[in-house]
Amino acid sequence: MFYIFCPHCEEHREEEEFHAAGQAHIPRPLDPEACSDKEWGEYLFFRDNPRGIHHELWVHAVGCRKFFNITRDTQTYEIKEVYKVGEKPKFTAVSETGADLKSSLKAQESAT
């Protein structure tokens, strides 16, 4: 059972109030029509699934209902940090595509 700090409510609450929404920092392609099937498929379905540091999107489902990010170790389950959408994580892992998180954050910035 996780005890999660919601950065919007600024309170620790029990895991049951939250919902894990998958990998964080996935930039939506700027022009979906221009994507190849492969690019669109990778955007929709292919995920980092690391044994170790992972950046995840969570939602405070039965609280403030806002989204935020968690950096968590998927092996030890230790929560390293909690940060709002749009903020940058302090703990970073190299993403599975080989591209590091910085460049995917950059892509996300230009997408939003």
Partner: protein
């Protein structure tokens, strides 16, 4: 291989059962094999067995980082059924079902396959529509199935609460009489023993830490304990660890690894002689031959490799079970554990060639691959022997997530295990 039989049992009783042959050898790995299988769970062992038996390829090693069958194979709730909605998956699981029906004889090992029937309950109008659709689809595919009303369910499981008292009353169910359970350890051990007898080297405590790839083709693996081992073809069957393995080979899979938990009660007298599953209230239950109630439910929502999940997930499961069976409310639970399941977006497996030549993956079985163990091994063996996806494996290519030809069991059948 020493053949097991009733006569053998009597004979060995005379020497106080002290002269039984070891069940498999413990060989030192060779430098090179025709096929290396990474992962010694049920699926990996079945693959090796059918490669040797059906395709006469016996120069095979199975490399297992822990002990044989110690992964999800040892952790699952052993429900076997084949009533999937779509043609592709129905064919695959029914192929497995037919193999299950002769497996103990084939392996000369009692896998305790018990066709005690599986009920999938419906609690809403939509559940019932989906159930009718699925049962009709099953019948068209030659798979047994019936739609039952609460009265008929009551006849099969008299102590289940089929009244309108519960918050989600039972409105009906699908019933597959040929479904049931099998003994998970026996399945792994039976395949291991039979594969070993055909000359397959089973190497335990041998973790693969990298693939050797030259010019886009895999030529071997690097292990933590036994150095490099070359192979003409490699089959990776590592369930929850598959994304990590794919990363070693330089590509991504559409998988996420989640904890899935189960629990068993203290042993009680025979009370439940079938398998009951409910996707809506989300719990499923059967009773093992030892007498314990075997209970499971859904995954924990976050990614996790820790082989444990959160407590409230278990609590929800047990709530659902007590809602269905008020009589179990005072049964004490004995043990609880978790496995790491490799869930795929369309809840169907990946049996596939990969971007790396000579490297094949069999994964993505997620929460429901035990039932497929013989079929998965059979189909993957055919794929490895031919060097390309077999007819039954073709729809399960990892590249379906590029071209969009998903086999959407998740949305359609709401499949759990």
């Amino acid at each position: 291989m020493q053949k097991y039989s009733g006569f053998g049992l009597l004979k060995h009783a005379l020497s106080h059962h002290e002269n039984w042959q070891r069940v498999w050898r413990n060989p030192v790995p060779k430098k090179k094999y025709d096929v290396v299988i990474v992962g010694g769970g049920g699926h990996g062992l079945a693959t090796a067995y059918y490669l040797a038996k059906v395709h006469n390829i016996t120069n095979i090693a199975v490399l297992e980082k822990g002990y044989l069958g110690g992964g999800n194979t040892a952790r699952n709730t052993t429900i076997v059924r084949s009533n999937y909605l779509w043609d592709e998956s129905a064919k695959l699981y029914e192929h497995a079902m037919k193999l299950w029906e002769g497996l103990s004889q084939d392996l000369n090992y009692n896998v305790m396959f018990s066709q005690r029937g599986v009920l999938n309950l419906g609690h809403t109008l939509q559940d019932m529509r989906d159930i009718s659709r699925r049962v009709n689809a099953n019948r068209l595919n030659g798979i047994d199935g019936e739609v039952l009303d609460p009265q008929q369910i009551k006849e099969i499981v008299p102590m289940m609460d089929c009244s309108d008292r519960p918050r989600y009353p039972i409105m009906g169910a699908s019933w597959q009489p040929r479904g049931g359970v099998a003994r998970h350890d026996a399945v792994a051990w039976g395949f291991a023993r039979a594969a070993d007898a055909l000359g397959v080297d089973l190497i335990q405590q041998c973790e693969v830490v990298d693939f050797i790839i030259e010019d886009g083709a895999a030529t071997g693996v690097r292990t933590k304990t036994h150095g490099s081992i070359s192979a003409d073809r490699i089959g990776c069957v590592t369930a929850g660890n598959s994304s990590v393995m794919a990363k070693m080979a330089g590509f991504k899979l559409p998988l996420e690894s989640h904890p899935l938990q189960a629990l068993v009660s203290e042993p009680i007298k025979p009370i439940l002689d079938t398998v009951v599953m409910s996707n809506h209230v989300h719990g499923y239950i059967s009773q093992s031959d030892k007498g314990d109630l075997v209970i499971g439910a859904g995954i924990d929502g976050y990614n996790g490799y820790g082989q444990r999940g959160s407590y409230h997930t278990i609590e929800h499961t047990v709530q659902a079970i007590v809602e269905l069976f008020p009589v179990f409310s005072r049964v004490r639970m004995n043990r609880q554990w978790g496995g790491i399941v490799d869930t795929c977006p369309d809840a169907c497996p990946i049996i596939s060639a990969t971007p790396v030549e000579n490297l094949f993956f069999n994964c993505g079985w997620g929460t429901g691959g035990f039932k497929a163990t013989p079929g998965s091994g059979h189909v993957f063996a055919e794929t490895l022997a031919a060097g390309e996806a077999s007819e039954m494996a073709k729809p399960f290519s990892m590249f379906r997530f590029h071209d969009g030809a998903l086999i959407d069991e998740h949305g359609a059948a709401g499949v759990a295990h």
